[in-house]
């Protein structure tokens, strides 16, 4: 029982980073980015290339890939989303679907379908009050909590973070307060890209690296972002943990292969009873 709750926490932690990225992107750019899954896949393969082909240890490989992927996201935004900036959330969403197909299949083109894993030897678990924790899960906890702390400080203490929240709150006013929205959008994509890269690595470590790995996380990630209140980063983190725990605990009751239904039920419930999510502010649509 306790182990299942812990497993839920682990699933939640892995969902947290991409959920954070989705919330950030939705806050500033006002559209649900359906390419997040494929973006994580591409980043995971970049780290795989550095790790196995160039024999970099995991940490430098992940850091380098994260920074590189941040810039790649800025480029992808310029090419795909910037020309559509004025066309409303729906068009952007469909464009992100197209981008998702492209990215997943670029990974498939380069590395084929076989499941692969990083060159790090698996370790037997630590035992702690009859809960089993393995090394990857520990790393995931540390990395995700660290990322959340950095994000919290950035968004509340640093000018860049405040500016991002300002643009999310009221883009026109932000301009008139001297904020260069284009720069803030670049920053948002860069940070979201780094979060997605680390998220992709955590999935790759937890499970295996294969082209559809990112896509299988789409529904839980969106559920977490919505549960937390789209636009509220803290909400996304808590939402992710809740989604993780609820779906793992549910497997004690329902057959495990319907587990994907849980995040869906959560989304439906949230949309009906509390659309702005747990922490989000009701969106004022001008």
């Amino acid at each position: 029982m306790l182990q299942t709750a812990f497993n839920g926490l682990v699933t939640g932690i892995i969902v947290a980073l991409p959920a954070l990225a989705v919330t950030l992107l939705f806050g500033v750019l006002k559209f649900a980015n359906f390419a997040v899954g494929a973006m994580m896949t591409v980043a995971a393969y970049m780290v795989y290339a550095l790790n196995t082909e160039l024999d970099w240890p995991m940490l430098p490989a992940t850091v380098a890939a994260a920074v590189a992927f941040g810039f790649m996201c800025i480029l992808m935004d310029l090419v795909t989303f910037k020309p559509l900036r004025e066309r409303g959330g729906l068009t952007l969403m469909v464009a992100s679907l197209g981008l998702g197909f492209v990215l997943e299949n670029v990974a498939r083109l380069a590395y084929g379908n076989a499941a692969r894993s990083y060159a790090m030897d698996l370790a037997r678990p630590f035992r702690f009050m009859d809960i089993r924790m393995n090394r990857e899960q520990m790393i995931a906890f540390v990395v995700a909590t660290l990322a959340m702390a950095v994000m919290y400080v950035l968004l509340t203490r640093m000018p860049i973070g405040r500016a991002m929240r300002a643009v999310a709150d009221n883009p026109a006013l932000a301009q008139v307060r001297g904020i260069d929205s284009a720069a803030i959008i670049r920053w948002t994509w860069f940070i979201a890209g780094m979060l997605l890269a680390v998220g992709g690595v955590l999935i790759g470590m937890d499970r295996a690296i294969e082209p559809p790995m990112g896509a299988s996380y789409l529904i839980p990630v969106f559920a977490a972002a919505i549960l937390g209140g789209l636009g509220s980063p803290l909400g996304a983190f808590v939402g992710a943990l809740l989604i993780g725990i609820v779906s793992e605990m549910a497997t004690l009751v329902i057959p495990p292969n319907y587990r994907i239904g849980i995040p869906l039920l959560v989304i439906a419930a949230i949309l009906i009873f509390r659309p702005q999510g747990l922490f989000g502010q009701a969106h004022i649509r001008r």
């Binding site: 649900a32 359906f34 795909t80 068009t91 679907l97 197209g98 492209v102 299949n105 292969n257 869906l264």
Partner: protein
Amino acid sequence: MIEFIVLMGIVVCFSGILALALNFQWGLGGMVNFGLAGFYALGAYSCALLMLKGGFNTFFAALGAMVIVGAVCGLVAFVTLRVTEEDYFAIVTLGVGEMLRLVALNEDWLTKGALGLTGIPRPLGATIPPTSYPYFMLALSIALVIACLWALNRLSRSPFGRVVRAVREDDVVAATLGKNVLWARVRIFAIGGVLIGLAGSLHAFYYQYIDPTQFSTIVIAYAFMAVIAGGRGAHLGTVLGAAVVMLLLEGSRFAKELVPLEADQLAAVRIIIIGVGLILLLIYRPHGFLREYRLQATLKEERPEPQPNTPKEAAT
């Protein structure tokens, strides 16, 4: 060779009807349906099961499938749209689509799970000899496509059609005009569902065997590509879009000799082309090859329709 073209013609027809459904839901009604594959599977399985288990003949089975998918779509729209904007709607349809596919995969007692349903009868399958059946089916499919086009065109020109477009332009404005927005959206999505049910039934009749692998996310990619290429909102354009997408895909299968890629890379490249094409068309040809139907004819009585997407305050 002719027979293969006839068979591909049939596939284009029911892919076209599926694209028409998406076009109606998204292109006209402004509601993005990312669960298309799941609803499509629901249509095909309902039709097959009504025949195999329910004993209905092909006509009533197809009718039943259309009603079922229409009702489910209406229910999803009703539950989800009562509260929120359409961004969340896409996410919910994604989830519902995935759930429907899972049910088809896991409920062996009903759908025989991964083994799929085989021996699905076809309209007049018994009376028409197999060798000339494809020609009959092509004629039937083309007739159905024309019927759908005719019905959708009449619907677009009717008052309900104007409500549909008003809802897409800006549902707040539409609400203020007294149109019951929620009810309009539920009906829009349900009518789209009916078309999906028809396309699903034709799929089942054509392949005579259905299993979960036939309803993967690639179906969604092809449908969106067809709608965007054909020009959102333009019914005939959407069908032509579906034809072009199908020719591109089947054509690329023939192109194996021309393309130096290995087979497994060719499949990946094909989807990359679809993805890139989707984005480029959205940017450079937002109206696809054919303009959305305009009410120029009735200019005299009413002031002309507003531009489809007048740029709101230029914020940059």
